[in-house]
C-alpha cells in the first residue's frame, strides 16, 4: 500500500526534514544570530540603470563551471589511459598506473594542490586556473581509473576472444566491443565521481582562483554575513549537482531503451 503511495513517504520525509531544519534554526537563534538576508541578493544580481548585471557569486559559479568542465574532460582522459595501462600486459605500464593511483588516492587533495601550484607551476609555467584544473583532474582521475578498470573487467572475456577470432585489431576491439559496454556500466559511478569533482573544486579557494567558494569567503570577510552567504553558496552548488544527476538519469534511461530494442 505505502509502496504505491509516494505521498505517505513524502509526508514522513517532510516531517523529518522540518525537524532537522527547526533544530538548526533553534541552534542559530540561541547564539543570537540576526539574519540579514536582504543584503544577499546584490551578490547574485544587480540592477543598474535598467540593466541587469551579474553579481560576484554568479561570476564565481561560472568559474566553478569552467573549472569543473575542463577538469572533467581531463579526468576522463587520465582515468581511461590509466585503466587501459593497468590492464595491459606491459609491466612498466602497470607499474606507472598503480603508482599514480596509489599516490593520488593516499595523499590529501590540499597537499597536492599546494605542491602543484606553489612548487611545480613556476617550473611548468602554469597559471592559477590551469594548476587548479590539473590538480582536480589528477585527483579525480585516479578514482575514475578504478571505475573504468572495474567497467573494463566486467566485460566478459569471451567477447574479446570472439572479436580477436574475427580478426579485429586491438584498437577496434576497444573501440567497438569493450568500451561501449564498459561505458554503460561506468556511467552511474562516474556521475557520482563528477559530483565529487564539482564539490572538491571548492578547494581552489586556497590558491585564490575566483570560484564560487572564494567569492563567498571574500564576501564573508568583508561583510560578516557568514551563514547567509554559506547557505546561498551551498544552494548554488546543489543546483549544479542536482541538474547533473537529472541529466545523467535521463541519459541512462535512454540507453536502457536502446539496449532493450
Amino acid at each position: 500500500m505505502a509502496r504505491h503511495n509516494p505521498f505517505v513517504h513524502l509526508a514522513i520525509y517532510a516531517s523529518v526534514m522540518a525537524l532537522i531544519v527547526w533544530g538548526v534554526y533553534q541552534g542559530a537563534v540561541s547564539t543570537g544570530y540576526r539574519w540579514q538576508w536582504h543584503r544577499v541578493p546584490q551578490y547574485l544580481f544587480e540592477w543598474d540603470d535598467g540593466t541587469l548585471y551579474r553579481g560576484v557569486l554568479i561570476d564565481g559559479l561560472i568559474v566553478t563551471l569552467q573549472i569543473s568542465a575542463a577538469a572533467f574532460v581531463l579526468m576522463l582522459v587520465f582515468g581511461l589511459v590509466t585503466a587501459i595501462l593497468d590492464g595491459s600486459p606491459s609491466f612498466v605500464g602497470r607499474a606507472i598506473a598503480r603508482t599514480y593511483v596509489e599516490v593520488i588516492r593516499n595523499t590529501p587533495l590540499l597537499v597536492q594542490l599546494y605542491v602543484i601550484y606553489f612548487a611545480l607551476s613556476p617550473v611548468l609555467g602554469l597559471d592559477r586556473m590551469s594548476a587548479a584544473i590539473l590538480t582536480l583532474a589528477l585527483f579525480e582521475g585516479a578514482y575514475a581509473a578504478e571505475i573504468f578498470r572495474a567497467g573494463l573487467q566486467a566485460v566478459p572475456r569471451g567477447q574479446v576472444e570472439a572479436a580477436q577470432a574475427l580478426g579485429l585489431s586491438r584498437f577496434h576491439i576497444y573501440r567497438h566491443v569493450v568500451l561501449p559496454q564498459a561505458f554503460r556500466l561506468t556511467l552511474p559511478p562516474l556521475t557520482g565521481q563528477t559530483v565529487s569533482l564539482i564539490k572538491d573544486s571548492s578547494i581552489v579557494s586556497v590558491i585564490a582562483v575566483f570560484d564560487l567558494t572564494t567569492e563567498g569567503r571574500n564576501i564573508i570577510s568583508d561583510t560578516f554575513l557568514t551563514f547567509e552567504i554559506w547557505f546561498t553558496v551551498a544552494l548554488l552548488y546543489l543546483m549544479l549537482t542536482v541538474t547533473l544527476s537529472f541529466a545523467v538519469t535521463g541519459l541512462e534511461h535512454r540507453m536502457q531503451r536502446t539496449v532493450a530494442r
Binding site: 513524502l10 538548526v24 585564490a208 570577510s221 560578516f224 557568514t226 546543489l238 542536482v242 537529472f246
Partner: protein, 274 residues
C-alpha cells in the same frame, strides 16, 4: 524513475524550506553582561587571526604581537587571565556569535558593512600598510596610482587591514586573498601577482630578503584604516567598558608605545619564523 525524481524534488523543497524558515528574524537575544561574566569566569577569551606583526606565532610557537600586548594589559586591568583562541578569518564572526570567545582583538578594520553585523569599539590603532611590487612584472613604478588599474593583481591576506586598505585606495586593482602570509609572498615571488600589500614593516623586510624579486615603489603608507575590538551586538555595558579602556590607554601613552615597538621598531624581528 518517478520515485527517484520525486525524491530529488522533495530534497530541493526541503532545502528551500530551510532557507525560508531561516529567513524569519530571530527574537532579540537575552541581555548578556559580558564584563560581569568575564570577571566571574576569571578568564577573558580573545579571538585572534594571524598577521605579522598584529598577532602571530613566534619561532617557539607562542602567540605574540601587538594584539597580545593589548589584550594582556586589558586582562590585567580587569584582574583576569587572558586566553587566545586562534581562528581562521571567515570563521571569526560565527565563533564570536557562538560564544567561543568574548571579543575579537585582531587588527580588525572598521567598515560600515561589517558594522551591520557586529559592534565595534572606538579605534585603538590605525594601521600603516605598504605595497611591495614584483621587479619582474611591474618594475620602476614610483606612484601608488600606477597600481590602481584593472590589469594589476594585488595579493593580501584575507580579512587583513591590508585587504581593506587595497579595496579603499586601489579599488580598480584585482585583489586576490590568501589565508596565509607565506602564500601571499610566494604568489608575488612566483610572478603570479604584481604586488603584495601588508602591514608595515613586513613589506620592507620582504623586499630586503628578496631584493632581486621585490622592491618598494612608494615609501609612504596607505591612508590609515581604523582598527577596533569587535563584540556581539546588544551589550552597551561591555562597549562602554572597552571604549573607556581604549581612551585611558591612548591618554597614558600605552597604546602608542606598543605601536611603536611593533610597527616602527624591529626589535622583535627574530621572533618571526622563517
Amino acid at each position: 524513475m518517478f520515485h527517484r525524481r520525486s525524491m530529488i524534488a522533495a530534497a530541493i523543497a526541503g532545502v528551500m524550506l530551510g532557507g525560508v524558515t531561516a529567513a524569519v528574524p530571530a527574537p532579540v537575544h537575552a541581555q548578556e553582561n559580558l564584563i560581569d561574566s568575564i570577571v566571574q569566569r576569571g578568564v577573558m577569551r580573545v579571538g585572534v587571526g594571524n598577521f605579522v606583526p598584529w598577532v602571530f606565532r613566534s619561532k617557539t610557537g607562542d602567540i605574540v604581537g601587538f594584539e597580545v600586548d593589548v589584550a594582556t594589559k586589558l586582562a590585567e586591568d580587569m584582574g583576569v587571565q587572558v586566553e587566545f583562541v586562534p581562528t581562521v578569518w571567515d570563521g571569526m564572526i560565527p565563533a564570536l556569535l557562538a560564544g567561543n570567545f568574548d571579543v575579537v582583538i585582531s587588527g580588525m578594520s572598521i567598515t560600515p558593512q561589517r558594522n551591520l553585523r557586529v559592534n565595534f569599539t572606538t579605534p585603538y590603532a590605525s594601521s600603516g600598510n605598504m605595497l611591495a611590487a614584483s621587479v619582474q612584472r611591474m618594475p620602476d613604478r614610483a606612484s601608488l596610482d600606477d597600481f590602481n588599474d584593472r590589469s594589476v593583481i594585488i595579493a593580501a591576506v584575507r580579512g587583513s587591514t591590508a585587504a581593506a586598505a587595497v579595496q579603499a585606495q586601489l579599488p580598480r586593482a584585482r585583489l586576490i586573498q590568501f589565508d596565509a602570509e607565506a602564500d601571499v609572498l610566494q604568489e608575488v615571488l612566483n610572478g603570479n601577482a604584481d604586488a603584495l600589500v601588508a602591514s608595515v614593516p613586513k613589506p620592507g623586510r620582504d623586499a630586503a630578503t628578496f631584493p632581486d624579486q621585490l622592491y618598494i615603489p612608494v615609501r609612504e603608507t596607505f591612508r590609515g584604516t581604523l582598527e577596533a575590538f569587535a563584540l556581539r551586538k546588544g551589550d552597551a555595558d561591555a562597549l562602554n567598558f572597552f571604549n573607556n579602556w581604549i581612551l585611558v590607554n591612548v591618554a597614558n601613552g600605552f597604546l602608542e608605545e606598543r605601536w611603536d615597538y611593533w610597527f616602527v621598531g624591529q626589535d622583535w624581528a627574530d621572533l618571526v619564523p622563517e
